[in-house]
């Protein structure tokens, strides 16, 4: 997976436009809560770093080769993409109060979805932890930036449809992972 593919794979898995639709809003409404978004994104990035960095050990413990896991990751990503296509708007989640909203629902389940975890383990063991963390940082960074997008009818429609397009790319990523895993030695 080259750098562009890796970066876009994480962008597709995190799907910042869609995620923005499920982020906690400021009390005044319309905009996200930057502090919560930053803390949630930083937590998710640490989780990706841990998963990618420990992917070799984790896969060795469960006796799965990185190549075979790539196929599994592709399947997980494909299932996530299909589910997202059918439900483009994230489910409503009750928010924890104060800064804890960064952990629930931002860190989990918004940012650390199954597709992100699968991708972190797959790319960490093949493309390397550093490259995976950089790619994930771009995606999580975009989530923080999109917090500035004002929600509203037009904004939501834009986010929803962009999220759909990103999901289509996620499907491409899934196929890529499966084929790459099958063709790997």
């Amino acid at each position: 997976m080259n750098g562009i593919m890796l970066a876009t794979a994480y962008l597709a898995a995190v799907n910042p436009p869609r995620t923005r639709l499920g982020m906690p809003e400021s009390a005044a409404g319309g905009r996200g809560r930057p502090g919560v978004a930053v803390l949630g994104a930083a937590s998710a990035l640490m989780a990706v770093a841990a998963l990618a960095g420990g992917s070799g050990t984790i896969l060795a413990i469960v006796e799965v080769t990185p190549e075979m896991f790539r196929v599994a990751a592709g399947i997980v990503v494909a299932v996530a993409a299909i589910a997202t296509l059918f439900r483009p708007r994230p489910a409503e989640e009750p928010e924890a109060s104060g800064w804890r909203a960064a952990l629930w629902p931002v860190f989990f389940p918004r940012l650390l979805g199954a597709e992100v975890v699968a991708l972190a383990l797959a790319t960490g063991s093949t493309e390397g932890a550093a490259a995976s963390v950089v790619a994930a940082a771009l995606a999580f960074g975009l989530v923080v930036v999109l917090g500035a997008v004002r929600r509203g009818r037009l904004g939501d429609r834009l986010l929803l449809n962009t999220g759909r397009l990103v999901t289509v790319w996620l499907m491409v990523v899934a196929v890529y992972l499966i084929v790459d895993g099958i063709r790997a030695v």
């Binding site: 469960v62 006796e63 075979m68 997980v76 063709r183 030695v185």
Partner: protein, 392 residues
């Protein structure tokens, strides 16, 4: 919030279980050492040798449950098993295996037919099969390499001419030549004869350099790389271990982008096959999702195929990235197959221990090519296992 968290975590747990059971069961590679691999090779080769009759034919197959020896026979498998005994002799230097291989070879030499400029062997009354002659020639060339004996060089040239005569303009290889007309039978192809012919011609070129035999194999290899699967109507690309042998033995000056690409593709097929095999336990839910541990000949062909490509990963820059994985797959294959082989102790409680000891069974049946392919795979794995032991 707790309820939603519980819902999410339950879905994750369910997903993980499904993933683990259905997609990524543990890939189990039993530990193995060089002594174990050598012992398994000898046991398998001894199974073949014990089954060698005075007429030069081998025991074809044995059904353990029915306690029946198969009365079938197959020319290509006879030639293949003979060839594998030469591989064993080359690796071990044990003259007993050379003698057995020569007996198997004698069976074919007794059945030679001559045409215009070519020689080949066939069972009396049968059309001449390309595959059986490809492996016959491969055996002859390995014998030449291992013993230096030139006495059969003319036979080798005759069989080489036969194989070249089976080629079509695009490199396709016809599977048979009519014993009646002496002409190749157009429109008949075989999944393995093409690769067998290619490998045999490469080996012949190695044995008798400067006579153009390697060059005559190149169109066949390129046909396999570019056209064969679609042209001959295969739904998927064939994981052709014979083509892998041809590539592995091809002199380096003939390795171009197309052939290196074929080698990489083949390594991928064999790697996937072997990783999948390592997931099989043949028990419980795994049995329903992965079925029984694969037929030994199937596992063996994947092992020998990937083993044949190993030298390319040492020398070809474009393939060097595959080396670690190729070695891992080979060691894993060796571990699996050493573990699955019927030991002398286990065989002693079976109806006919001499037909069980050293064999690999698939659902109670073993066939000569099960032993042939697996022992070839083990021979390919042996240097890697030895090297890993040396590193410790």
């Amino acid at each position: 919030m707790k309820r939603r968290l519980a819902v999410h975590l339950s879905l994750w747990a369910l997903g993980l279980v499904v993933l683990r059971v259905a997609v990524i069961p543990a890939e189990v590679c039993p530990p193995v050492d060089a002594a174990g691999v050598r012992r398994a090779v000898s046991e398998a080769a001894d199974w073949i040798v014990r089954g060698l009759g005075e007429d030069g034919r081998f025991v074809y197959g044995y059904d353990l449950a029915a306690d029946e020896v198969s009365t079938d026979y197959n020319a290509a498998r006879h030639a293949g098993v003979t060839m594998s005994l030469y591989q064993v002799f080359e690796a071990t230097g044990d003259p007993g295996y050379l003698a057995a291989a020569d007996t198997g070879l004698g069976y074919m030499l007794d059945r030679l037919v001559d045409g215009e400029g070519w020689t080949a062997w066939t069972e009396p009354g049968w059309d001449v099969a390309t595959g059986a002659n490809g492996l016959f020639l491969a055996g002859l060339a390995l014998r030449h390499r291992a013993t230096g004996d030139p006495s059969l060089d003319e036979v080798m040239r005759g069989v080489g001419a036969f194989l070249v005569g089976q080629q079509e303009e695009n490199g396709a290889v016809l599977a048979y030549r009519s014993i009646g007309t002496g002409e190749p039978m157009t429109g008949w192809y075989d999944p393995f004869a093409t690769g067998e012919a290619a490998w045999a011609l490469v080996l012949l070129g190695r044995a008798l350099p400067g006579e153009g035999w390697v060059e005559s194999a190149l169109p066949v290899i390129d046909y396999i790389a570019n056209e064969r699967d679609a042209a001959e109507g295969y739904v998927t690309r064939l994981p052709d271990h014979w083509a892998a042998y041809a590539l592995g033995d091809l002199p380096v000056e003939h390795l171009d982008e197309t052939r290196i690409g074929l080698a990489a593709r083949l390594a991928g097929y064999f790697g996937m096959r072997l990783r999948f095999e390592a997931q099989r336990t043949g028990e419980g839910v795994n049995l329903w999702l992965r079925w029984y541990p694969g037929p030994p000949a199937g596992v063996g062909t994947a092992g020998e195929g990937i083993g044949a490509l190993l030298p390319l990963t040492l020398t070809e820059p474009a393939l060097q990235g595959l080396r670690r994985n190729v070695e891992e797959r080979l060691v894993c294959t060796a571990g699996m197959m050493v573990d699955r082989q019927v030991t002398g102790e286990k065989a002693s409680s079976m109806p006919r221990p001499h037909l069980a000891r050293g064999a690999w069974f698939y659902r109670g049946y073993t066939q000569m090519d099960d032993q042939q392919h697996v022992l070839s795979a083990l021979l390919a794995a042996l240097p890697v296992v030895e090297a890993k032991e040396g590193e410790r």
